[in-house]
Subunit: 246 residues, 2 copies
DNA sequence: CCAAAAGTGTTCAACTTACACCCATGT
DNA sequence: ACATGGGTGTAAGTTGAACACTTTTGG
């Protein structure tokens, strides 16, 4: 075994979740390449934003760079959750054909360090989104290449698991939000609907959820009160929950 | 940017937790090399078992192989939790000197995919442990090289977080165990002591915790009843808890 | 006046917490 | 007989779950 046998290509891939008024969405970037099975035919499909990491680049920095380059988004909550290194991740000839268009050498295996990211969709839209980046409802995603379906499942679990420990839902919401928006965000991550009265009773005990003397405007129904998340109060009052799985 | 700029060395590192009758322990392997600052002097210290991964090896397989080769342990619960790729992980000259003894080239950066593992200490001892592998109490660890202190902290968090979702404590216990052993295992992971009566009331509701008609023998006190964990019953009865962080 | 979403309280059951003493065994 | 860890119950407080109607606004 010599040293070059021990060298590998690495990418970072980002699963970006965005919350609109109804449900969770995922940000995908379009790839466009010639179908190797059908020359002359152009395939257009979608994948998670991801790219190679250079040898002098910190992982987290690489993830932010790749996300900025491919989507235009730069101010976002980002967290590494798992590295995927199966020997079969590149087994689809279409995926290998596409890879040749971006790195024209034969690749044996690519490890990818996967990140999840959370952002309110409107904010992402303000940060002039790349013309190649598109939001998809999580309930209606196109077929994903590589092992991206597995990465997505793993990302959803990672976000849920994170929510057990930190109120990361606030990363999905704009600065001022309604309790219904908050509830929808929880529901999107948990994957279940919650009882409105019980939900409100529960969150009304959270010291870091600050009610503002402001209400929605120009809505065709009773305007909802606006709230904000106080990171300071959260940090000061959080206690480590002690529960264990049943 | 050419292709070789995009290639990296990477290793797997395993943080092996073992439970003895009192507390959590961690398995370290000794490294032995000449002090670059003081030629002729031999440094002996300890690190997590870890090694390079070859280009044709699955990640999880590599972790099991490395663990077997360096410690002798082969039947163990193992789970990937994070990849460490800081540019400064190799900044200590002593660590670079040691690396040269195992791979005699100049290395720029090594990414490491970190795993945690759980095993009952006695079981590990049966699997003829390598003479270079040693158990240390988690409350009394030697100084660790590289970024291993950070990896340890992250591993402890990962195990705790896992315990929120699955009763992985049972991986630390022998097949038959007492409620006190179970409690100590929880306490070791959680890092806090628990009330005996409340603990027992709580676990007595777990359908997958099976009491045996067997008791401890040859102990200088009232013998404790033995229990076992039923993975089957756990799988059949588990429900996804719906709680969120406060 | 209609549609749409906001907002609100009670009851019952389940769970959490705090807390102290006797028991069975080996030496 | 003593040292060691095993084993047990209750009361008070808190939290979780189920459940339906009125309010405010824009169109």
């Amino acid at each position: 075994m010599n040293s070059s046998d021990l060298m590998h290509h690495f990418t970072v891939d980002c699963v970006v979740f965005g919350m609109d008024s109804h449900e969770l969405n995922v940000l995908l970037v379009q790839r466009e390449f010639e179908d190797p099975d059908n020359p002359g035919n152009i395939i257009k499909d979608y994948k998670f934003p991801g790219n190679f990491v250079s040898f002098s680049e910190d992982l987290d920095v690489a993830a932010l760079r790749v996300l900025r380059e491919l989507t235009g988004i730069s101010d976002i909550y980002l967290e590494q959750f798992k590295t995927f290194g199966s020997l079969t991740r590149l087994s689809n000839p279409k995926d290998r054909a596409w890879l040749k268009t971006i790195l024209p050498i034969e690749l044996k295996r690519i490890l990818t360090v996967a990140y999840f990211a959370l952002i309110p969709i409107e904010k992402a839209k303000q940060e002039n989104l790349s013309s190649r980046a598109f939001w998809f409802k999580i309930s209606d995603l196109p077929t994903l290449p590589f092992d991206h379906p597995e990465i997505l499942k793993s990302a959803q679990k990672a976000v849920l698991s994170k929510l057990y420990q930190d109120p990361v839902v606030y990363e999905l919401l704009p600065e001022k939000f309604t309790l219904t928006q908050l509830q929808k965000s929880y529901e999107g991550i948990i994957g279940q609907s919650l009882d409105k009265r019980n939900f409100r009773k529960r969150v009304s005990n959270l010291p870091y959820l600050i009610s503002l003397n402001q209400w929605q405007q120009n809505v065709a129904h009773k305007p909802a009160q606006l709230y904000r998340f106080s990171k300071n109060i959260y940090e000061q009052t959080k206690k480590d929950n002690l529960y264990f799985s049943t």
